[in-house]
Symmetry: C2
């Protein structure tokens, strides 16, 4: 498997090696992701329709299924230089602790103040908004990583930033909110009285602690009803996966330097932004028949859209103001149990990844959160990095695969995405330590109830 150059603990690329082009995996897909549908007419959304919600250049990226490479503007690359290239780490200490012959690598995206990979798309979306001459952008945030990333990008470009934060997170994570305020964002707990849809949801569910789907509806409403504003989203969309391809491109460049070819690539999957970005160039090779890789999406057992959802058109938000997307979904009303810690709580999944999964090009597994936190703590102790709960889903499965290698003696090369740090998730770690963390797995009946409400399309 390639040359035997001594591999350092951390493979850093030079800043001149930051990718000059994003890679658009859709160009190499035989079966393209299904188009977004207008929620009123159920017809494919036109660029014109979409540009009421999104910036024009981002609409073009959203709809572009043909161009494999899209140039990264110089201004965005300059911003990337503040925290990229991110390190690809050889997990020597974890390998030793596990006693596995497997070789484990992780791409660490947590080395920036937003604490995650979300910044890669935040700066891109903010840049195009600025270029279009807009005053500001609106968005939603759940665990808070995306909101923080967008606040940072907007502060840098001096754009206004309005964040709707799922109420339960707003209350449980005051420090996340405060970081966004350092970056000048206004943060509103959702549902709120500031929007029509927020008022409606509050009237119907007075005690609700909010959901991502609801916060999306509010943010979209504010964007479309305020001149000079557009809505931006941190995951799910094709454009977001495109921007996140820098993760995979850097990973591949770093591995190529040492002649390393992965056998297994693992990423956590909520809306799919990190996983889609990490696997992009590898999936491209697979689609073009040049190489083969095992690619594994890891999702929480409490929100199992890939493993137990339907591949169908569904609403992207609770308020049904957003376009419909064809994706693996649990139904737009589905909200994971309050027991569930951290992100990865979206009811659907990236249409790109959904199509790839449906075509048998990748696998998916779901894991229980107590198993996830056990892996997180082991990882923190031996590798030094305190991981985000989301990222720890990938750690769990990377460890499981490495332990299988220990049994079989196979020297597989495993690469996983370490999307971020868990510094703002210590309440969840505390619950784990105090043995108060519970696992929740929805029943078949429960999932069927939500699935029955999927919109009838096609």
């Amino acid at each position: 498997m390639g040359s035997e150059k001594k591999i350092p603990y951390k493979i850093y690329l030079d800043e001149t090696e930051i990718p000059q082009y994003w890679y658009n995996v859709r160009a190499d897909m035989k079966n393209k992701p299904a188009p977004l549908l207008n929620p009123g007419t159920l017809q494919p959304m036109t660029a014109e329709e979409l540009s009421g919600v999104f910036c024009e250049e981002l609409v073009a990226q959203e709809l572009d299924n043909e161009n494999a490479f899209i140039e990264i503007p110089k201004e965005i690359r300059n911003f990337y230089k503040m925290y990229r290239p991110s390190p690809l780490v050889r997990a020597y200490c974890l390998e030793e602790k596990l006693g596995t012959p497997a070789k484990i690598y992780y791409k660490f995206e947590g080395n920036n103040t937003s604490g995650s990979h979300k910044l890669n798309s935040a700066i891109a979306q903010a840049y195009y908004a600025k270029k279009q001459g807009l005053k500001g952008v609106t968005t939603e945030t759940g665990a808070g990583q995306w909101g923080t990333a967008l606040s940072m990008a907007c502060a840098y470009l001096e754009l206004d930033c309005k964040v709707y934060m799922v109420k339960v997170s707003y209350e449980q994570k005051p420090f996340r909110r405060e970081v966004m305020r350092v970056y000048g964002a206004s943060v509103t707990p959702s549902p709120s009285e500031t929007t029509q849809i927020g008022k409606k949801i509050l009237a119907e569910h007075p005690g609700t602690t909010g959901s991502l789907g609801c916060a999306i509806s509010e943010a979209v409403e504010v964007a479309v009803s305020n001149p000079g504003y557009r809505y931006v989203l941190g995951s799910v969309l094709n454009q977001v996966l495109l921007h996140q391809s820098v993760i995979g491109l850097e990973t591949k460049a770093a591995l190529d330097k040492y002649g390393v070819v992965p056998d297994i690539i693992i990423g956590c999957a909520g809306g799919g932004s990190n996983l889609g970005g990490l696997i992009a160039p590898f999936m491209g090779e697979k689609l073009r028949g040049e190489k083969d890789y095992r690619i594994i999406a890891v999702e929480p057992a409490s929100c199992p859209s890939f493993t137990r959802g339907k591949f169908a058109y569904d609403f992207a938000d609770t308020g049904m103001v957003c376009p419909l997307a064809k994706m693996y979904t649990l139904g737009s009303d589905f909200i994971p149990s309050a027991n569930h810690a951290g992100g990865l709580r979206y009811h659907g999944m990236s249409p790109v990844l959904s199509q790839l999964y449906d075509d048998g090009l990748m696998e998916a597994v779901s894991v229980k959160q107590t198993d996830v936190f056990e892996a997180a703590e082991l990882f923190a102790r031996v590798e030094g990095i305190l991981p985000a709960p989301e990222s720890s889903h990938a750690i769990r499965v990377a460890i499981d695969e490495a332990l299988k290698c220990k049994e079989t003696g196979e020297e597989k090369t495993i690469v996983f995405g370490l999307t971020g740090t868990g510094y703002f998730d210590m309440v969840a770690y505390e619950k784990f330590h105090e043995h108060q963390m519970e696992d929740y797995i929805p029943t078949d009946e429960e999932l069927a109830k939500y699935a029955a409400k999927l919109p009838k399309v096609e």
Copy 2:
């Protein structure tokens, strides 16, 4: 001023360039730091006496005023590879924002889970404890960075770690405590009922929220009364400055690569560990008459040991169980106002830095915390990194010096130490945003009261 090679945003060294030797600035000092004194006899502490409290190899390092280079054991260098070399960043965005002709660089030590430079000495001290066959170590922590760092090092080496955390921090920063628990440390709020000195202090001051000096006393008591334990300290001591010299050595190596020679070197100073480490090789050149640099220590106006303290022998701790050190001190009873956010609250200062300052080899300035947070927020928005309150003291003065250059048109090169991140300090940021942060500057009368209680030595 050297070659005109294009300087990247971040200068990363290769992991093979991690220093192989710590640099001991004492070897080049004409006036050596004064010896530690036995608190009972007021005679210089012998190695034997010190080894009841500290590990043997660390005692040797503490007393070594002769050897300029001390080899870094391979095991420690391997640990360093998990997060070092740390980046030296060219602050292009900050320079542009300020409109200054100055060239600003910062050495960023926050890229590890402990969130600060403290890990550099934590792993060294834990390593020697392990090598000596000890069961564990005890320590104190204030803001929590040192406790976190030591917990990480001990988890890695499978050593027990008992941390006494200043009560007010324990209560205000539950998440810091929780991070230490992820790494398996036991964390006790100080003063506590677990020690004689703790009981005594609680009896005398029932409502006390604790102090560093008090937590030190408790940690030392536990170390000397439990077989197989020693005490470790995160700052002030000669050995700590020695370990932290990796910061300065890497900084110098990175600058040398591009032929850059700094004019001004700036660091925040509490006990002096970061500043002492950052300036070490530069001060060495200055002591040997090879080069000259302006070196500036920045301390909080609320705890101004350099700028308003006495250079005298004083107790290192409240309980007076530790050796006496000759240092700039405000008196061992001095506790900065509760208004003061973050660390940099120790009453004394590194004996090495105290001697260098007294010899006129460096400057010191004190700054108000509202000015510090203003600089912190500006920095966060343009450079992307949310800085720790401590580190932001250095940012404040770096900005002030850069603005002077703007007035004079001088293209000075400024290097400062960005010691860590502020993710666990959001309460302080919130106070700043809400305009509830107050500045407190002790009066001359107040300081005189503490100074009058300094022990009579010499």
